[in-house]
Structure formats: structure tokens, C-alpha cells
Assembly symmetry: C2
Homo-oligomer: 508 residues x 2
């Protein structure tokens, strides 16, 4: 048997998946922990991925009639309290501002001074403050719909944090809309759900299931919560985005009322929806491998790293200008409607190390250029979706001319691979023993990767939902879109009648 190739990331996914994740985030220079408990620093490579996520989402929001605005970071406690379920959902994890000055205390250290009359929370989400503004802006049905999105930071005081997946502060977008009718708000909720699905699949190359959350997993205060759920490589589910139908509950809390066409006074129907920097964690765990990050071309901060190989000083005058010309030619090509982004990495002389640095960061294409390549008018090309040593000499003109189709091929391949992985670990399960075995590692001492998405029947009872979670830490990820159109069956837990299968998985 051949010895396996050494990997750039240690431990590998199979050995310790959680540690592999942290190591990829570090090695790819995506983010790191900060001296502030639970808060991360998003490093330039990670932030540039977020900028691309933001730009691609933003153009989709605008194309569907939404506009951006900005609302206050700090929210009075009385606002939060307006909706009972909402406050219960968020009160346990709020950063509370109580003072507006610092003074030097007797021991020479700073202490808070000047207490506020009413404390403020750092927004965990903005339904209440945005609702208060909607109430001011809406008078008549002619003022509706209002379709607003905000790009912002939010704070939820999580006790156990993990870079990107769960941090005290994170970046996100939150859409907030108000409508004249229930039907229109319902349509908005589902339009956004489908927008998220299309975005996840076509931009992030991340296949997702869509569906509705059980009442137990709803957003606090929502009437219905819809979600997109992706499968990570440890076969756990990642909730990657949510779209909430809020009915008239928040409109009542914030008094968003309007004079209807029939001259009666009515409460508006509202929605809210969001995705966050968590998506970057999802990218790592969907596409990353034992050599590091793999960034889908459509969100990659750069598409090609050109690595000049300069072994002797007098090569420099030939190789560097040749690489710059190659970069210029590539930048004239367009991929996904924008110029191809190219980095010429002239940092130092060790081409091997530089190559591995770009592999770890997950750039789609590496192009090594040394004197021998130049002599052949060729480039030595590696693709991040292939093994590090699987490189080939490609004539320069061909490399340039095919760059967009190569990137397309990588993008499509990543989606196909992720979809095949998910499908391979998704299956209908009808017996409790099989269900338990599916979600239980064979060796509890040293648990291997196991589980996946189990499509199983559920009677609809929160008791069964809770019992399954307590026994196996498995949750219902969603009642998938189309729920109710399948065959009825018997609840996997209690054997009562079930209308259709739901999706069970362990989850982040």
C-alpha cells in the first residue's frame, strides 16, 4: 500500500474534525480569536470573501426591490420587551450598556460612570427598533410595502463560541419588510427563502435543503420560520439562512398600522430574514479538505495566484515582467461578469512554500512560471479542486483563453461534489434501531464521522422531538419544502400516524 501523501492541515478531517476546522480557519488566514471574549477578528482574506458574499447577495436583494438603510446599534430595553416571545428568546444573551462615561477609580483603573436612565442593549437583531420606525413611516396602504435590508453587526452573548459558526459579535444582513396583506408577506418570506437557496447553490456551491422549522426551532416571536440547511463534511447540518413570516405579531408590538383601502385601520404584515458570516464557516466545512480552504471561484477574493520561480538572480529580469504581462492578460478576461482577479506573489524565493500558502488559502488556480516555462511559452498550472501534485504545463495562450471556462468548471465541480456527498449521506429511515445506529458512532471512545440527514416520519409532537434530541442530540432540521406530498407513515419515535417525512440531523 502506498503511503498517503502528507497533508498541509493537521489533524485531518477524519482524525479530529473540530480541530481540523479551527486549523483551516487559522492556516487560510480567514479569522482568529481576539482578546475580547467570544469576538473574532476577520482577517483580510476572510473579509474579502465576506465582501463578495455581500456584493452577490446585495445585487439579488436590489433586483427583488429591496433598499438598504441603517438603524441604531443600541436598543432601549422597553423596545425589546414589546414582544413577549422575542424578549424571552434574546434576554439571556444580551450585551447591556448601562453607563456613558469612564472615570479613573481609586486603584487607578477605569470604572464606569454616569449611569443611563434606561439601559440599552447592543442589538441582537433589529425587529423592534426597525418596527418603531416603520410605525412612523406607514400611514396608508399606499406607503406599503416597505422592503428594507440592513448590513450590520449584532451581538449575542454566546457562552461557547467558535470562529464564524458561533461568535458573540457577528456580521450579517437583516431584511425587514412590511406589507398590506398576509398573502404578500407570505410570498415575500418564500421569495427570500428561494433567493437564499439559489445564492447558496450557484454562488457558494453549497447545496441546501429548504423547509420550515418546527415550532420549537422558530425565531422568537415568528409565526413561521423557513430555513436553508446544508450538510457539512462531518455530516452535521448547518442552518445557513432563515426567513421569518412574522404575521401581525411584531406589527402589534410596534403598532405598525395603516389605513386600508376600505378605510379601516389595519396592522401590517411583516417578515424578517438573514444570513451571516456563519456562511464562511459553511464554506470551510463544505469545500475545505486536508490541505486547507477551498474557495469557490464566485466568492474567491482572487482567482489566480501567479508564482514566479526565480532560482538565480538574473532570472528575475525575465520572469517578473513575464508574470506581470500574464497577469494583465488574465485581468482582461471576465468571469461571472467581472474581471478575473490575479495576484502575482513575489514575496520570496521559496516557490514551494508560496504554493502551499495559496493551497491553504484555497485560491482556485495556481500558475507557476519559471525560465523553463517561459522558454516553452507555458504555465505550470494547479487547480485547487485537484490534488496539489496534479499539475500540468499549459500553453500560455490556451491558459488565458480558457480561464473563465476553467473557473466555471471548478465552480460546477464543487457543487456537484458537495451534492453527491450530501446525497450519499441522506436516506430514508423507518426503524428506531436503524435511526439510532445511524446517529451513533461505532466506537464511542474515538468517535468516527457518522450520521447525515435521516428522512424519517414524525408525528408532530414536541415530546417526540425533545426525546429524540435528548437521547441522540439530533434535531429536526426542517419539514422540507413539499412536506405533505409524500406518503404517510409512522413516527420514528412513538409509532403514531405521520403525514410525511421530516429531516433529522445533528447540527451546528
Amino acid at each position: 500500500m502506498n503511503k498517503p501523501e502528507p497533508t498541509a492541515i493537521s489533524p485531518t478531517r477524519a482524525v479530529d474534525y473540530a480541530e481540523w476546522y479551527q486549523e483551516v480557519v487559522r492556516a487560510a488566514e480567514l479569522a482568529e480569536t481576539s482578546p475580547v471574549r467570544g469576538c473574532m477578528v476577520i482577517r483580510p482574506w476572510g473579509y474579502a470573501i465576506w465582501e463578495n458574499i455581500r456584493a452577490r447577495l446585495d445585487e439579488r436583494f436590489k433586483a427583488t426591490g429591496h433598499v438598504n438603510a441603517y438603524f441604531p446599534l443600541l436598543i432601549p430595553l422597553s423596545f425589546l420587551q414589546q414582544e413577549a416571545e422575542h424578549v424571552e428568546g434574546f434576554a439571556k444573551e444580551c450585551a447591556v450598556v448601562t453607563h456613558h462615561r469612564l472615570e479613573v477609580g481609586p486603584d487607578g483603573r477605569l470604572v464606569p460612570a454616569a449611569p443611563l436612565e434606561e439601559p440599552l442593549v447592543v442589538r441582537p437583531t433589529s425587529e423592534t427598533i426597525i418596527g418603531a420606525m416603520f410605525a412612523k413611516w406607514v400611514e396608508s396602504w399606499r406607503d406599503l410595502p416597505i422592503k428594507i435590508n440592513q448590513w450590520a453587526n449584532v451581538v449575542r452573548w454566546e457562552l461557547r463560541t467558535r470562529l464564524f459558526l458561533r461568535t458573540a459579535e457577528f456580521l450579517w444582513q437583516e431584511g425587514h419588510t412590511a406589507h398590506e396583506t398576509r398573502e404578500e408577506a407570505w410570498a415575500e418570506t418564500l421569495t427570500i427563502l428561494d433567493l437564499y437557496r439559489e445564492f447558496a447553490e450557484s454562488v457558494l456551491a453549497m447545496p441546501v435543503l429548504t423547509g420550515e422549522k418546527t415550532p420549537n426551532e422558530r425565531f422568537p416571536g415568528a409565526e413561521h420560520t423557513f430555513c436553508i440547511e446544508a450538510m457539512m463534511q462531518d455530516r452535521k447540518a448547518l442552518q445557513a439562512g432563515t426567513s421569518h413570516f412574522l404575521g401581525q405579531k411584531f406589527a402589534r408590538a410596534s403598532e405598525i398600522m395603516f389605513t386600508a383601502r376600505d378605510r379601516t385601520r389595519q396592522y401590517a404584515w411583516t417578515t424578517s430574514w438573514g444570513v451571516s458570516t456563519r456562511l464562511i464557516g459553511g464554506l470551510v466545512m463544505t469545500h475545505g479538505d486536508d490541505n486547507g480552504m477551498v474557495v469557490p471561484p464566485r466568492v474567491a477574493p482572487a482567482h489566480v495566484a501567479i508564482l514566479p520561480i526565480v532560482r538565480r538572480d538574473d532570472d528575475r529580469a525575465t520572469v517578473l515582467p513575464w508574470c506581470e504581462r500574464l497577469a494583465a492578460e488574465l485581468r482582461e478576461q471576465r468571469y461571472d461578469g467581472r474581471p478575473v482577479e490575479v495576484i502575482v506573489d513575489t514575496r520570496d524565493d521559496n516557490a514551494g512554500e508560496r504554493g502551499w500558502a495559496w493551497i491553504k488559502r484555497g485560491i482556485p488556480i495556481r500558475a507557476e512560471v519559471g525560465p523553463r516555462d517561459i522558454a516553452k511559452d507555458s504555465v505550470f498550472v494547479g487547480r485547487r479542486d485537484r490534488a496539489p501534485r496534479d499539475r500540468a504545463s499549459v500553453p500560455r495562450a490556451e491558459f488565458v483563453a480558457t480561464i473563465a471556462t476553467t473557473l466555471d468548471d471548478i465552480q460546477r465541480g464543487l457543487l456537484e461534489r458537495a451534492r453527491a456527498f450530501r446525497d450519499a449521506h441522506t436516506r430514508p429511515i423507518d426503524g428506531w434501531d436503524e435511526f439510532r445506529a445511524f446517529f451513533t458512532p461505532a466506537n464511542p471512545e474515538k468517535p468516527e464521522l457518522h450520521g447525515g440527514f435521516a428522512l424519517a416520519h414524525w408525528c408532530g409532537s414536541p415530546n417526540c422531538e425533545r426525546a429524540i434530541n435528548e437521547e441522540l442530540t439530533v434535531t429536526i432540521r426542517c419539514l422540507p419544502t413539499g412536506y405533505g406530498q409524500g406518503a404517510p407513515g409512522l413516527c420514528i419515535k412513538c409509532g403514531s400516524a405521520s403525514r410525511d417525512r421530516v429531516v433529522f440531523a445533528k447540527a451546528y
Copy 2:
């Protein structure tokens, strides 16, 4: 004498400038006050201007080798305390987070629970937290320079707030760089100052003076603070951006040390610099008039508002498709490297009201289209830099073909007008009586607009600076770039020797 035309904004600038400002911000739907003390809501039209400011600055930062990243919102008190002048400058206006949970109190109202071990401040600026990360990232001179920018929200607990100009929370960018040598950090500070100047003039059409602040007006902890200063239409100065040379002071506080080329351990040299949503207030007060906002084309969320005139229902089927075709033709044109942005405003039937709404919002060009215009294949065009009634019929093909040059003409005209205004209200002053008269309204009961930029001699003493400020509320805006190359003279206040003139003004 003709009766003056009625204006859309009341009061006018001449009657009550401060109230005129608030009214323009409201009428243009740029922003409004929120229920949270001192915090504003930036409405879609205002936020879209900010998005354009951000995009145009961001491309300039990237072109000069900077990358974006994101650092925590919350900063431990101990970090703030590392630099003595810095903490003194910000301690009086910090929002302090002291708890991380809420509970329902005995009276049923929420109260803070779970005190933090160490309180955190909501960042008023990020030198200290970013410095801590730089200290981790820098080991050798090879790791330098680091040139990072952050787009973020910050909180400074101002007691007297004013939309955009001074708010408790505002949006900004903050650049933070670390360098190997003093010279390199110095060059960075001035590169950014010039970038800000060029941006203000060519994008915002806002002429600015550049110069250095006096020690008294420096950023807390900086060795040198440079600024761009614009003149508003009430002839007061607006500090529109600052670039700080921090020397090694923050590097010492945060221990940003590196092994130098000579193997010694050295402190890095750092800079920081920023502009904020205050610029939008600057735009209002530079270009706005008694009919509302005037947005320079290069930051306008949309360039053309097409206003279909539909007086009879059967016009609709002709007029609306014609307007949509016109919009499509315009969108194929490019201005400033991007497609021309067009809004077809089909909201209701009163074309007059819609026209005034767009005048108040400051869109560069209005194009009315009714059946008679269509019969002539023409458009009835109004430019925001001309009087509302100064409109003309323009053949459709000509209107489309010349749209970019028209926008260019408006952009250039706004800059010229603002520069002429500033120059008309800038003058050398050598005698104290003249200086005092320049800054004193003739009628203190009902003060008219007065003052401007006085170029006067100053001996360099903080006492004279303070005395002038106490008597006239006039500050030294800057020692203008080129200071020291003029003729020496005598201090306007004390008559002692002065090297050169400085810029005095009342200021926001």
C-alpha cells in the same frame, strides 16, 4: 421688484441656517432621529449616498495597497487605558457594556443581570484593539508594512447631537497601518491626506484645504494630526477627514515590536485615518439650496428621474412603455465608469409633486415625459444645478447621447461654484478689529450669515489660540499645507512674531 419664487425648504438658508439644514435632511429623506438618544436612522436615499462614498473610497484604498478587515466592536477597559492621552480623550463619551443578560425585575420591567468581570466599551475608535492584533502579527521587518482599513460603526456619547454632523453612533472607515520606519509612516499619513483631498474634490465636489492641526486639536495620542477642511454655506468650517501620524506612541502602548534588519528589536511606526457619515452632512451644506438637497452626480444613488405625465388613463399605455424604453437607453450609457442609474417614478398622477420630491432629494436630472413630448420624440429636462422652472425640451436622441457630458458638466459646475463661494469668503486679515468684525454678526439679535476663513498670523501660543476661541468661538482649523513658505508677520492676537498665516474659522 419681482416677488421671490417660493422655495421648497422653509426656512431658507438666510433666515435660519441650522433649521434649514435639519429640514433638508428630512425633506430629502436622508436620515431622521430615532427613539434612541443621539442615534440616527439613515434612510435609503441617504444610505445609498453613503454606499457610493464607501465604494469610491474603497477603490482608492485598495489602489494604494490597503486591505479591509474587521475587528471587535467591544473593547476591554484595560486596552483603552494603555495610552494615557488616548483614554483621556475618549473616556468622557464611552458607551460601557457592564452586563451580559437581562432579567425581568420585580416591577415586570427588564433589568441588567450577570455583570461582566471586566466592563467593555463600545469602540469609539479602534487603535487599541487593532494594535493588540498587530502586535501578534508582527515579528520581523518582513511582516511590515501592514495596511488595513475597517468599515464600521463607532459610538461616542455626544451630548448635543445633529444628524450626520455629530451623532452618538456613526458609520466610518478607519485605516490603521504599521511601518518599519518613521519616514514610511509619515509618507503614508500624507498619502492618505492627499487621497482624502482628491476624493473630496473630485467625487464630492467639495473643495478642501489640507493642513495640520495645532497640538490642541490633535487626535488624542497622535504626534501629528492632518485634516481636510471644507467651508459650508454658512461659512463655517467642517473638518471632513483626518489622518494621524501616531509615531511610536501606540506601538509602545500595544507592544507592536519587530526584529529590524539590523537584528535589534524596534517599535513599529503607526498611522490611523478616517472619514465618516459626517461627509453626508458636508454634502448637504456644500451643495444644498433653498429647494433641498443637491447630490453631486458621482455619489448620486440615481442620476435621472423619469417622470411620466399621465393625465388621461388611455395615455398610460403609450407613455409608460416609452419611459421604460428611454430608461433602458439611458442605462446603456456610462458615466464615471459605471452605467447611468435611472428611476422611472410611476408613483401617482401628480407630476408636479413628484418633480418637487426629486428636486428636494437632489437627483441631478429630471426628465418629464408626456404625450406631447412623445409626439415630438423629446424629453422635458430639468437640471438640479439650475432653477426648478429652468427646464427645456430636448430631443430624445440628444438627451441620451449627451447624458454623460451633462452629468460631467453638473459635477464640475458644483465644484466650481463651491470653490468660488469658499474663495469669496476667504481672506487675509491682519488687524484684530477687522478679525473681530469678520467673525461678529452685525446684528446680534438676529445674526446673519457671516465670517469665513480668515488667513491670519498666529504666534504658536496655545494661550492666544484659547483666548481667540473664548472671545469669538473661532478655532485654528489648520496650519495649511505649505505653512512656513509664506511671509512672516505678527500674531493677530498678541502681536508677537509669527512664521506664517494659519486658517481661522468658526467650525462644526
